[in-house]
Amino acid sequence: MSPRRRRLGHAALLVLVAVYSLFPIYFITIQSLKTPQEDVFGNPLYVADPTFENYTELFAGGEAKVRGYVIVPRVPFLLWLVNSALVLLASLALTLVTGVLAAYALGRLRPPGWRAWRRILFASYVIPHTILFIPLYQVIVRLGLDDNHAALVLIYSTMALPFCVWILSAYYRHLPREIEESALVEGATPATAFLRIVLPMSRNVLIAAGLFTVGTVGSDFMLASIFLLDPDKQTVAAGLGVMDVSLEELVAVAGVNLAAIPVVIACAAFARGYVRGLTAAMLEGA
């Protein structure tokens, strides 16, 4: 094969991969921009006459709207967005703080049995939270967190934590000792040495752990709709999930699309750091 044809083939593959990755998102966004007429008679692959009705509908006030014979309930969407952001940020904070502390202990201080502890924590990743929701609900009620955002924060954090501790501790374990030692010789406490030197060095691994948490939180709609029932407290996933018609209702798609915008921007900003962080954790065989 000539180098030119090889380059062309490579470019074609890249385009193919991009189309494959983006098509479903493009497709559903197109559908959410259609008028009912175009939905029926139009081409499924593009939108000729876009309308933002599904999107503006989310922010319209009032109790309900009548469309034909159907009563469409109005939803407190802004509130849901705020709730989602709160839950996401709190889950991130809880996961990263507890994760970094544990990872530092496991990777750096290595108490006796650290390998077993690390494995036990990671093994908890296999526990299927969604299937365990009945006893989970009992725990949440016992903690007094029924219908409370904290319930979701706790559960999401336990879902993301195993992987985060795994990669963070792998990274800390392989950092050369000398990095902290010079600071300790200068008279810094271990805590300062960690905060000033080790933590900033692990920035990319933190990004990787953080984005993994975002992905974990973002993929759930089951737990959210089980644990949050009060419409004013729901997250976007929970709220749209219990609209019951969510699959048939493009308003729901519009809603999640809107909620996705900040997530996508964050991912675009941090994607490179994500890969670097994973690589850093994997170096020397994780």
Binding site: N43, P128, V139, S246, A252, T279, G285, A286
Partner: protein
Amino acid sequence: MLQTARRRQVAAAYALMAPALALVLGVLAYPLGWEIWISLTSFSSRGDGGAAFVGLASYARLLRDAEFWRALATTVAYFAVTTAVKLVLGVGMALLLARPSRGRALVFLAVFLPWAYPGGVTVVAWYWMLNPPLITGYSVFMGNLKHAVDGVFGTGAYAFLSVALFNIWRGGSFTAIFLLAGLNAIPTELFEYARLETASAWQRLREVTLPLLRPYMALAVFLSFTTAFADLGNVWMLTGGRVVFPVIGTHAYWLAVKSGQFAEAAAWTLSLVPLLAVALVFLFRWFDPHEEKAA
């Protein structure tokens, strides 16, 4: 002197680990214990409400239940199919993205999106594509496709396919990025050396790249394993709650929520434990070997 320092270090280590352990154990220990206990009783909303200890009766019934073996086979098939495709796609996309070229950064972001985009909307997207509501312009076409697929492979094949496709699309993206990170972690000298020593690109892939990627592939398989075996929401959503091919997760959910047979449901759920344990053993053997490497 040194010993007290070490002792203090160990104490500090336990103190630092405490929040994470408290979180994980606090949230999960009781549910697991409850699930195990309930599976040993006759707890069901169908009975008189009491929960008598019946030992392993539920498990014995499970082993004789043809439905269980069918669900288990479906679950294993779901895992095997999606994981194999995700690995092939993941390795392919990772190799593609590892080579410098124009536009790579944009394609990289595109590959990142299926996993990063909130699952709630992408699952709906796939549902609309594959099982459109009755009134759209392409409903007839997809309906014909569905009947064609079901006609060839049996009822439920299309539903299985749509769930598998979604899992592959979303998880393949994660696998690709993960393996790309793995490729970056392999020293480039190894590849340069391989270029001199091997005859063809295919031989290089088989004899150098794939073996070097193996530990990362093991971890990717493991992560895929848990998503497949614990999958409940996606199967549920993509089949519109009409579960024509129950996997273990959906059947357990069905038993517990729709018919209140909690003991039965718990036994179904816990039947996955041996499989997950085996997966963990293999994972740790490949990914976290005991012998310490010379750092």
